[in-house]
Subunit: 479 residues, 2 copies
Amino acid sequence: MKSGKKIPSREKEYAAFAPYDESSADILSIKKQVLDRIRPGPDERRRLEEMRSLLIEYVRDAALHLGETDVMPLAVGSAARSTWLRGNHDIDIFISFPETLSKEEMGTRGYAVAAEVAKRADSFEDRHSEHPYLHVVKDGFEVDLVPCFRIADPSAIRSAVDRTPFHCRFVKENIKGREDDVLLLKQFMKGAGVYGSEVRNSGFSGYLSELLVIYYGSFDNVVNAAAQWKPGIVIDIVGHAAASFDDPLVMIDPTDPKRNVAAAVSLDKFAAMADHARSFARRPSDSFFFGKTCPPLSDAEIVSLLRERGTHFLAVCFGSPQKADDTLYPQLFKTERSIREILRINEFQVLNTLSYGDDAACIVWVELFSGVLPPVRLKEGPPVWVHPNGDAFREKYASRADTYALFIENGHYMAEIPRPYRTAKELIAAKTGTEIALGKHVREVLAAGFDIFENDEICRIRSEGFRSALREKIFRHLS
Amino acid sequence: MKSGKKIPSREKEYAAFAPYDESSADILSIKKQVLDRIRPGPDERRRLEEMRSLLIEYVRDAALHLGETDVMPLAVGSAARSTWLRGNHDIDIFISFPETLSKEEMGTRGYAVAAEVAKRADSFEDRHSEHPYLHVVKDGFEVDLVPCFRIADPSAIRSAVDRTPFHCRFVKENIKGREDDVLLLKQFMKGAGVYGSEVRNSGFSGYLSELLVIYYGSFDNVVNAAAQWKPGIVIDIVGHAAASFDDPLVMIDPTDPKRNVAAAVSLDKFAAMADHARSFARRPSDSFFFGKTCPPLSDAEIVSLLRERGTHFLAVCFGSPQKADDTLYPQLFKTERSIREILRINEFQVLNTLSYGDDAACIVWVELFSGVLPPVRLKEGPPVWVHPNGDAFREKYASRADTYALFIENGHYMAEIPRPYRTAKELIAAKTGTEIALGKHVREVLAAGFDIFENDEICRIRSEGFRSALREKIFRHLS
């Protein structure tokens, strides 16, 4: 294994940082306390292992029943490598087919096997990433049954899920004896709010946290290194990188030289991890492992927040397209960015924005300095000597009776004209469905109608998920 | 004479512009009508010439009386070259001494001669540019009596005023027969609001307008050329430029190869001249020669403007340092720019600003979207990985009980904190005399105290000059 790229640093900048001593009594005691809370007990371990064996048996039975003679079930995921956090009852079972099959055949036949297994579960639902798979619940365990190809060479994978067995094998081979470090790191990332690589989170995946432990050697080493991270960290454990990346953190996949395992990590989650690690190193405490809970804001809290902040709340509410978060959130974020930009262009001062969506409703919330602006607005035209644009601008506003003023500033024509939308509500209402950028599914639900609530009308939004997210947004504090 | 630099142009841009026909009946009739209003009549001409002769005689008498044997009076200025506009009773008499004298001697002895002349005037006052001079009033004429050196070579002048006799001679030698063109151009520039090279105006001087007529050949040619001006015009009538300039308009002084006669012309006055010329060429009319009058705003008008515009007016009022406009206005503009910048930094949205000063009072007026902002303000800190700055920012706001939120955005620490000044009035009151940039004289009068008036309190400002300037500002329109 090669050493990762060292962080370029000026001595002065880091003079203030001293790595913590991993063998201090404090640290040992904190880690022990945390592990006592997060490490699965012997009972949980046994139950999970039994369930895993049972499911593998079910897959074999199903294959037999359907006449599939070359199907191999594989247990992957954290449950398969003893790096799951207590109470996390997710099991991933891959149903692998020989790579001689076509993608369609593999998909259809794999789904058939999964469906056969699902008959023996308590409940099931269809899910979809690159291919359809089945999510089933059995005795309280959440199980994904995923058809895949059984590939010899990881560089020749045929669908995204085919990588997973290779990941599982690499971790299993290299993590031995450091499972507790992975548990600690995952929990630490949860405390930092950076765990989870879904679009909504844009943080660190379980696999990435395992690779960090493998590379740096221990939980403590990861934290002491992260405390000094700057964007541009490149880690290439097996030294086989075959592509370069612009991401703040690059972890070359040990099973695929062209893939960055940390591609989903946003700059802000990267920075939040660095900040969290740095703060922990300064004043270690078990509080860094456990985030604050965010109960929904009550009506009274919303009203009192409005009074204290003196700002204007506005929420665009519409139906849910009932898609997976990873499909829905990119679309919500797009709408949120677009609303922010349209407000900015129209001179409304935006303090905060938030997107929230679940199976019941979608909400884009914005906090403004003011929801209303003066009726007069300054419009910048072309330079006086750029024609025909200059002439056209001048003629247009010279001939309008409602032009307040027409003049020259910094060589440009300028006009004071009536503001087309005096209130943010009118503006957003008019632009939703026209200029505001919308993803496919959000567009569809918006076409069915939307509400705009302002200030204490926000209390009409009953969604507890939204009210929790709003609390988290408004009261966000670094630990 | 050389041809001026041609304007770089793309054909498309100018496709829309066609120079007007200077021999059309319309144009001839407009020019005749305008000249009938602005050309001094025979009576005025005679009276002015008599006064000029009388003053020259007075200077000779005074020199004789004081035993000055080598003093020569010179009539300069528009009165001396028949390019003055009707009713403009300004006469410039220069009192020239041989260049063998020291600057101090010339100044003292010249001032003594001027003072002797002033005894025979109706009133007089001391004025000051590079050297002291006297401004006297005699029979309704405003006369400047300016001591200067009598220099042989214009490249060897010893004070700024020594140039004037050379300017006068150059114009006299070249303007013959085109005096009416100069009158038309000066009046046209007044109509455009670009005539006058004082700091407050930053427009075209009389000398510059004469050189433009000399270079382009006629009023019509100047207008048709100006209609196509872009910044970067360089005119060098005698082809002797010995310096380069960044100004939008460069007119190399025919009497000084290193001087730009148009240095005072701001980009906006340059553009306004181009715009005015272009509009005149499109739809010629005598209205282009006569600006609108700007009577002072009444109290009722101020109140109704506030209602219609829905904005917030704020005026900082302080005493006058009683300095010449060219001393006072640069200082007022500095304060105005600084106030605008401080408001912007503090997130107040500024629509307009205006400076006004005369011998009675100074006023800096601003028009804001709102005079009050929410109590919460977003403060951007350093990137998370830049230390010790990042650590310091984080510690500071993490430890303050009044921090609303502390988080990471675009890799930077961000804090929501209490806004130090919720109202523009508090902000300006606190920063006046500290962060707001002040010139020497404005600093002195501000130290003696200032008032801040808001909205209809503006009516307490009785200054008619300010109220006229405010009308001009708010209702500015291109003709």
